[in-house]
Amino acid sequence: MKEFVANNKQLMLNYAGLWIVTSTGLFIALYFFLDFDRRLALTDALISSTLFFLFASALWFVVRFSGKAANHGYVHLPSAILAGSLVVLVWLYASKMLLSWVLPQQDVYIAFINDSLAFRAFVGIGLAAIAFLLFKVHFLLIKDAETRYRALHLEELVRKTELHALKNQLNPHFIYNSLNSISSLTHTNPAMAREMIIALSDFLRYALKQDAMQLTTLAKEIENVRLYLKVEMLRFGDRLQTSFDNISPQFANQEIPVMLLQPLVENAIKHGVQSSTAPVAIRLDIKDHGIETVLLSITNNYDSSYLRFKGEGVGLENIRNRLRLIYGNGRLLSISAADNTFTASIIIPKRDLQNAI
């Protein structure tokens, strides 16, 4: 809400500026052109101008309320004229009263005030119009800034909430389909059913409990992907083939954000296994990528006669956002599809997790 306050401060400065200009103008008119005594001219100029801007500040509320009530953002003209006239009338009366009170025994000057009422009213109307304009411009500026601020803030909030809720990354249909398979196993192989329930629970525990910013070791992350694959292999049988065992021990403690690999494997299953009648192999490769980074790649074959790649899904987008949030670079994830093979690669900084959880 910083912008809002700054805008109001600006309004007050402008309003004060208008007051100074008006007071000076009145003084110049009275002192230089009408040849009144300096004290008289100064008193009239200051009192008239100050009173006017005190009363005219009420116009701000007219602008604000009519601006809020009407969506089109225009001030309702009749109510503006009414409010303006009221301000001018009250001002004329009050300034005359106050001046006669602070300037006793100045009958000539009081007579001048009475004579110049029409002129004063004219000046008042002009000033009221200027005040209106100033308020209006400020009102629109504030509203605009507020809208932009809210939009920006909301966007950020939504993004953060989405990212932090890792459970949104989980595909509920995976859970429903797995439970259906397990339900089937309870008849054919109850021991296997129990084993699968444990695998699914362990996977869900890992996936649901952690924050999206959380880091873990590559060994733990891969262990979790294996749990996931164990459940998926129950569903797909021989159609799903995996090789996740050739991971060199040097990477066991490599740091990696939690649940970074699983969505990529799930993607491979969705577009590979679930779209093909032939077996699909999913492979994970980990290797050094220069001195400071590690390259993780997940490849799978797919049946190109039934499937086209049409941009990226929500899953990949989510990973990109997390990489941006954690490492400040969403391009650490890249994908490619060629010769019926799909590859998703992630580059992460090479370092061991300090306090492994």
Partner: protein, 250 residues
């Protein structure tokens, strides 16, 4: 005479579960199990089942596409079995007998079977479960991403992005790509409604054309034009079609 049933699901344990749940029904005989939609079509043509348990998401062609390709004379009762709840409406529009969510509940399964047996025993010919003409077979997005066809025993998949134009020919629609031309028993109106209107424009009563495929348009007679496509074909453009195109390019 027992009722014949076919189970179509790409996941073996899921088929196993349906089989298990069907075991108490002596009057139902499982004549085939299929692991994708195309096998399903062949099995349905061969066995003429009374009842089909059908998954939606499957390799090659999905459950809706399979229904579209069924012979009109094969019209089994369809019970959908899927983990997706969002296609129930679409399934019932396709005259599904029931829509069961995975994991399957024994109670709901029994209800569906009661319905199925009542309808089969009453000798009522089941309402055709083939697709109504205007139903899209894509279950993921709003517009068709591909068109599936049967050519004898083979299955042809035409991705939307390879189609140059479609032409109404009697009861069929001719689908033209760079490599081939195929006929599908549908109306042009169906494609007009289910292909992305940002990509395909109706330029004539009988032609729906991919805008990108048009190379130039020439006046042909007073009220008609001719569009030259990138495969060398020429397509008639009516006055109204020309107006459609102009609106698109404006």
């Amino acid at each position: 005479m027992p009722f014949k049933a076919i189970i179509i699901d790409d996941e073996q344990p899921a088929r196993e579960l349906v089989k298990h749940l069907l075991a108490p029904y002596n009057q139902v005989e499982i004549v085939a199990e299929c692991s994708d939609g195309f096998e399903g079509i062949k099995a349905i043509g061969l066995h003429k089942p009374h009842l089909v348990f059908l998954d939606i998401q499957m390799p090659r062609i999905n459950g809706f596409e399979m229904l579209e390709l069924l012979d009109e004379k094969d019209s089994p009762q369809i019970i959908f079995t899927t983990a997706y709840d969002q296609f129930a409406l679409k399934a019932f529009e396709h005259h599904a007998l029931d829509y069961l969510l995975k994991p399957l509940s024994e109670h709901r399964f029994a209800q569906a079977m009661e319905k199925a047996i009542r309808s089969l025993e009453s000798g009522m010919h089941p309402i055709s479960a083939t697709l109504k003409d205007n139903q899209s077979t894509n279950y993921r997005g709003k517009y068709l991403e591909r068109i599936v066809l049967r050519q004898g025993d083979a299955l042809v998949v035409i991705p939307e992005e390879t189609i140059l134009y479609l032409e109404a020919v009697d009861d069929y629609v001719k689908i033209v790509t760079l490599q081939k031309e195929m006929l599908k028993k549908k109306t042009l109106k169906y494609f007009e409604e289910n292909l992305n209107p940002e990509i395909f424009i109706k330029v004539h009563r009988s032609y729906l054309v991919r805008v990108d495929a048009i190379q130039k348009i020439e006046a042909y007679s007073k009220d008609s034009y001719l569009a030259f496509l990138k495969n060398g074909h020429k397509v008639s453009v009516s006055k109204a079609g020309y107006a459609n195109l102009r609106q698109f390019f404006r």
